[in-house]
Amino acid sequence: MNIVVCIKQVPDTTEVRIDPATGTLIREGVPSIINPDDKAGLEAALALKGAVGATVTALSMGPPQAEIALREALAMGADHAVLISDKRFGGADTWATSITLASALRRLGFDLILCGRQAIDGDTAQVGPQIAEHLGIPQVSYVSEIQKVGDRLQVKRMFENGYQRLSVPMPCLLTVLKEMNAPRYMNVGGVFDAFRAEIPVWTVDDLDVDRAQIGLKGSPTRVKKSYTKGTKSAGKVYEVEPQEGARIIVEHLREKFII
């Protein structure tokens, strides 16, 4: 079984701070990590490899330094890693990203594609399902358990108020939740090999992809503006009877469209 895990290198958002003067993200000195949901996907792939045998490839799209995330994946036990990196892919929205990843996945070949449910920097949860659509394969998102049964997969799909157990044919794409497992650590021997490994870097020229559909130019959506939520001014405090307090709270929540 060929498993490809799509991983994204993201800034550790628990460390992200806003520059109060410019209102932009301070990225300097912020450590990068493998996106947590994606790392769970990697662990799930390695667990399947251990249980039923599989070849696991980690695939990432990003700037050259995303290679570090791929080396971590190799050190955890992935067999291969591929980086898609080219300035011409820059500024891609989820459509252009998924088009690009789908073309790399076609080149790699796969029985199972694992993606994290969503990345902690963008939180869109869109790239996985969009890849599945471009490849014309079934998808299940919000997956918290995966088992191979015969030539199909049995998965647990979470909803807000419950779950489903589904049987899915392969090839297919699953998006997984970080709650599903605790990713293993890199092993010492693995780290050494991983940091010597040659990681192929694929550019636009290595992929069979429509150049009109990649990068900023190929993105249907555009960021019109971005801004930080204004820094908080001290809130109002009322010293009142409970009844009056309740009325004040409701009034404020309605004003803020919270209720």
């Binding site: 958002t13 628990t14 992200v16 806003i18 929205d93 989820t94 459509w95 902690i120 920097d121 963008g122 939180d123 869109t124 949860a125 869109q126 399902p129 969009q130 659509e133 471009h134 079934p138 299940v140 919000y142 909803f159 108020n161 419950g162 779950y163 489903q164 157990r165 589904l166 049987s167 899915v168 044919p169 993105s219 249907p220 959506t221 555009r222 019109k224 503006k225 971005s226 930080t228 939520k229 001290a234 809130g235 109002k236 405090v237 009322y238 010293e239 009142v240 409970p242 009844q243 307090g245 309740a246 009325r247 004040i248 409701v250 929540l253 309605r254 803020k256 469209f257 919270i258 209720i259």
Partner: protein, 336 residues
């Protein structure tokens, strides 16, 4: 893509087990305002099996001009492929300018797949929608980086302009039985391979799976609640706000609430839209776990409690009398 041929606003009317979900009515409220500004119709797309005329009537009473229904056994339970097929075919036929889907665990599976099939862009988890003055661009605003940054996204050259919208953010319209609307059925040719994903089991568990990090509203209690009975009052309040109960370390140590509800340095970090801190003094260890919340309301009888320094709204009063009063006030208002 000839974008000038796309008109109107389309809302995906999410139903589960025959129950139209609350977010659907919220989308109809938001969609109605946009449709009125464009002076174009508001469509609701209702997919399912054994749907009733009451379902369509509910959608019309909440703002839809036209309900497009696909009723088929393949749509009885949600599955990505048959739902995508139906929604994409309707979009291709009706050509709406805007398409809105609730950002639920169902909508966030369907919308990216369907938008990719009709070859348009999609903006995730929007919290504000408005038409740009002087254009047909929908301004779709969403939080990123865990809410630290807000971004306004446009989709200028593709149609429909599609967005998923966070539940609980938009306002639904009051039900109006006098509203008139049209109901049409739409035929989709399904094939057996559309059901390649098999449902083995469906289990409904009331909210037990959700963890507090995912809740958009948290009603959080501390030692100031005094005892377990008082703490239980918070659960009713949380339910009426569509949220969950959380707690400070003090309340967990007192045994009033399990540890997985604890917010703070030794507990969880949360970022709900609303954090209502009841009887929590606001030690730095607690604040570290909730200060990024969208809107913080604190209730405490001590005016010098540090929690007030972090609150958007503070009420100095007896929290155990305020909680039932607030539940009552909310009940009154929801009836309006």
């Amino acid at each position: 893509m000839d974008i000038s041929s796309y008109h109107g606003v389309m809302v995906f009317a999410e139903q589960r087990n025959g129950h139209i979900q609350k977010v659907t009515f919220e989308l109809l409220g938001a969609g109605r305002a946009i449709a009125d500004k464009l002076a174009e119709p508001l469509f609701a797309v209702l997919l399912g099996h054994q749907l009733t005329t009451q379902h369509s009537a509910d959608l019309i009473a909440h703002g839809a001009d036209q309900v497009i229904v696909v009723d088929h056994p393949y749509l009885a339970d949600y599955r990505t492929e048959p739902y995508t097929k139906a929604l994409a075919q309707i979009i291709d036929q009706v050509k709406p300018c805007i398409g809105l889907v609730g950002a639920t665990t169902l909508g966030r599976d369907l919308a990216p797949r369907a938008s990719a099939r009709v070859k348009t862009g999609l903006t995730a988890d929007c919290t504000a929608l408005e038409m740009e003055d002087g254009s047909r661009n929908l301004l779709m605003t969403r939080p990123a980086f865990g809410g630290n940054i807000m971004a306004t996204i446009i989709c200028p050259e593709h149609r429909p302009q599609m967005a998923t919208v966070r539940p609980g953010v938009m306002r639904k319209l009051a039900r109006d039985e006098a509203r008139q609307g049209e109901v049409t059925t739409f035929d989709v040719a399904f094939h057996e391979e559309d059901l390649s994903v098999e449902i083995l089991e469906t289990v409904i568990e009331q909210a037990t799976l959700k963890n507090i990090e995912e809740a958009s509203v948290l009603v959080s209690g501390g030692r100031g609640m005094g005892n377990a009975e008082n703490f239980d009052q918070l659960r009713k309040l949380a339910t009426s706000l569509g949220g969950m109960v959380a707690a400070s370390r003090g309340a967990v140590e007192a045994g009033w609430v399990p540890q997985d509800r604890q917010v703070g340095q030794t507990g969880k970090t949360v970022r709900p839209d609303l954090y209502l801190a009841c009887g929590i003094s606001g030690m730095i260890q607690h604040v570290a776990g909730m200060e990024e919340s969208g809107y913080i309301v604190a209730v405490n009888k001590k005016a010098d409690a540090p929690i007030f320094e972090h609150a958007d709204l503070g009420i100095v009063t007896d929290v155990n009398r305020l909680v039932p009063a607030l539940a009552e006030e909310l009940r009154k208002r929801s009836g309006e």
